[in-house]
């Protein structure tokens, strides 16, 4: 999927007969596509919800209000709440730099932004274990017999600041896998928009921040919201990278997806599906928001064209 394709809408043209295929071919193709979607997307989703209520509504709410489930929900919201704003700021900054300025290493920056897309999340998790784990760089430094800065090693040991198998590691892993979402959404749009408006603003005497807030930000508003929604969805659902760095301590380092796995392995299948339905529900909200944003975006385009 190219992000540009979803955010850039060509102006609507009057209806014209573009396809000359007979009606039955069109109907066949449409029903094929729909039944495929029903079978592979809708049925499994419906199954999740029916399984979730298999032991009645009381058990469903008991599963959701369990203290371990709550701590998983809180941890997921915390990790998402840190990762999404950070990636939002980073994404806007990176997209702005790439689309509006020329500098050396621009392609390198673009490649780096794409890195989390191209490597497996499990590897992302392992990278953090190798760096921050007790046998990794930082850990070896803290545990070394003769560290270079004994006071620093002592302080780190004293604080017992943990990255891996603790909340910071989960937040780091979540940030890593969601880095590209906002930036990748904005770059094509900002490149297409060019820099004419910003240059005009500067010529008219606006400061850098004014240009950004009055000219650039309104132009990219909907794409930014769209990127944030996608980023949010991925941050909440991330399993692989978080699974490696979590240590799976129940009630402490289990996020919602990890908690679902733990419940499933406890033979508590109904409980697992109940929590899974919560995650699916969050995904559906995300989908709804996404559709709404696309609709708003299209409407704005239309009003701009007609005016």
């Amino acid at each position: 999927m190219t992000p540009a394709a979803t955010t850039f809408h060509p102006p609507r043209e009057p209806r014209r007969q573009l396809n000359t295929e007979p009606v039955w071919v069109r109907r066949l193709l449409i029903s094929l596509a729909l039944s495929f979607l029903a079978f592979f997307l809708f049925l499994p989703l419906a199954f999740v919800f029916t399984q979730a209520f298999a032991k009645g509504i009381g058990f469903y709410f008991k599963s959701l209000t369990d203290p371990l489930t709550w701590s998983a929900i809180k941890l997921t919201l915390l990790a998402t709440g840190i990762a999404v704003p950070l990636n939002c700021v980073f994404g806007v900054a990176a997209a702005w730099a790439i689309a509006k300025f020329d500098f050396r290493g621009k392609n390198l920056l673009l490649t780096l932004i794409d890195l989390p897309f191209s490597i497996s999340p499990v590897i992302a998790g392992l990278i953090y274990v190798l760096v921050f784990g007790a046998q990794g760089w930082l850990g070896l430094y803290v545990n070394a017999e003769h560290p270079w800065f004994p006071w620093l090693a002592h302080w780190l040991d004293e604080q017992n600041f943990k990255v891996i198998f603790a909340v910071p590691g989960i937040v780091l892993a979540t940030i890593f896998v969601t880095v590209p979402f906002v930036a990748r959404e904005l770059i094509p749009l900002m490149q297409a928009q060019g820099r004419n408006e910003e240059e005009a603003a500067r010529v008219l005497g606006a400061s850098g921040w004014q240009t950004f807030f009055r000219v650039t930000l309104p132009n990219i508003k909907w794409a930014l919201i769209y990127g944030v929604i996608l980023c949010n969805a991925r941050a909440m659902g991330e399993f692989g990278a978080v699974s490696v760095v979590s240590g799976k301590i129940r009630g402490q380092t289990n996020t919602i997806p990890l908690h679902i796995e733990a419940l499933y392995d406890d033979y508590n299948f109904t409980g697992a599906f109940a929590v899974a339905s919560l995650l699916a529900f969050l995904a559906l909200i995300t989908l709804g928001l996404k559709t709404w944003v696309e609709y708003q975006n299209a409407r704005q385009d239309e009003t701009e064209i007609s005016s």
Partner: protein, 338 residues
């Protein structure tokens, strides 16, 4: 400062305030982390509650115990990498040896610190078959027949899978006058019948019972009994072979961690209480074979008599067995090609 900048900063501050991590709870509460292997989930849930009561009555202190479960080898690796366990209760001694040698978190002679090789309960490897035992599986010999699908986890990551592999190997040695070549042929045939290697015992059980793959599951005795209980409508049957291996899941205090966290006394008491009457009774209730004679007598009826070989007797101890069979390029790598 102009207005948009102000607004931007306000938004940032609000976002920060909303998402800032909650301040850590008061440090006075005693917290223990027990890093364990897969099939102990139900046992430790109940044992932790019992120990919290006991410790409260004895000292008046509140203690809360967190659990982490997974394949035994994987859990050991997590502890080596910094998972801050106060106690480890793993599937086999080699995994705790690995923690001792790779991270020096506990002394090399950890296994001498508690009675019975630091294993408060024992278990063995049995077969679990589908209702009515349609493939007629009675002993190890039946597992290598063509058309029999055997579900067993990966010995590289799972403790139970290593015990299962060694039990099969010990059987083959006994049948072939201790001939290693013949035993390898047997074990190779056995693993050719394995359609999927799950990373942990619990994953293998779910594969067998929930996803209905395979004809026979090789697993811990306690795990097999638990499946009978959890899936009682499915009519699974336990088949105990005439000979199996004495599996000793060991426990240990991670001394360097508890010293730093000031939890040595309570961690030690937590493990010692496993040997008490109540601990032993709970072990028996969750289908581990208790060490204590009283508890063993009480639960004798639920265990089938089986001839048990030990790892020291057949394989010369865990270190040697691990090196010969499960290390990179060892016998398992030679015979198993997925």
């Amino acid at each position: 400062m102009n207005k948009p900048v102000q607004r931007f900063l306000t938004i940032c501050l609000v976002a920060l305030a909303v998402t800032a991590p909650p301040i850590a709870a008061s440090a006075k509460e005693i917290k223990l982390l027990n890093v364990s292997y897969d099939p102990t989930r139900e046992f430790y849930t109940e044992y932790n509650a019992a120990f919290i009561r006991y410790w409260k009555a004895k000292t008046g202190d509140e203690v809360s115990i967190s659990q982490s479960h997974g394949g035994s080898g994987k859990q050991a690796q997590s502890v080596v990498n910094g998972l801050e366990a106060d106690v480890v209760t793993l599937g086999l001694a080699f995994d705790i040896d690995a923690i001792a040698t790779q991270s020096r978190l506990l002394p090399a002679d950890w296994q001498k610190k508690l009675p019975n090789n630091s294993s408060p309960y024992t278990s063995t490897i049995v077969f679990l078959v589908r209702k009515g035992n349609p493939k007629g599986i009675k002993d190890w010999e039946d597992l290598v027949k063509t058309g029999v699908k055997v579900v067993v986890p990966n010995p590289k990551t799972s403790g139970g899978a290593r015990w299962a592999y060694l039990a099969a190997y010990a059987y083959a040695l006994g049948q072939n006058h201790q001939d290693d070549v013949a035993a390898k042929v047997f074990i190779k045939k056995l693993y050719q019948n394995v359609p999927v290697l799950d990373p942990g015992a619990r994953g293998a059980t779910v594969t067998f019972a929930q996803r209905e793959i395979g004809d026979v599951l090789l697993t811990w005795e306690n795990e097999a009994h638990l499946v009978l209980k959890e899936f009682n409508s499915a009519g699974y049957e336990i088949v105990t072979p005439h000979q199996s291996i004495l599996a000793e899941p060991p426990v240990a205090v991670v001394e360097r961690t508890t010293k730093r966290r000031g939890t040595t006394a309570v961690a030690q008491a937590y493990l010692e209480y496993l040997y008490s009457d109540e601990g032993q009774e709970l072990a028996g209730k969750h289908f581990y074979r208790p060490r204590n004679a009283k508890a063993a007598a009480k639960f004798a009826a639920q265990f089938t008599a089986v001839e048990l070989v030990t790892i020291d007797q057949v394989f010369g101890g865990w270190a040697k067995a691990q090196k010969t069979h499960f290390a990179d390029g060892g016998v398992f790598d030679q015979i198993y090609h997925p």
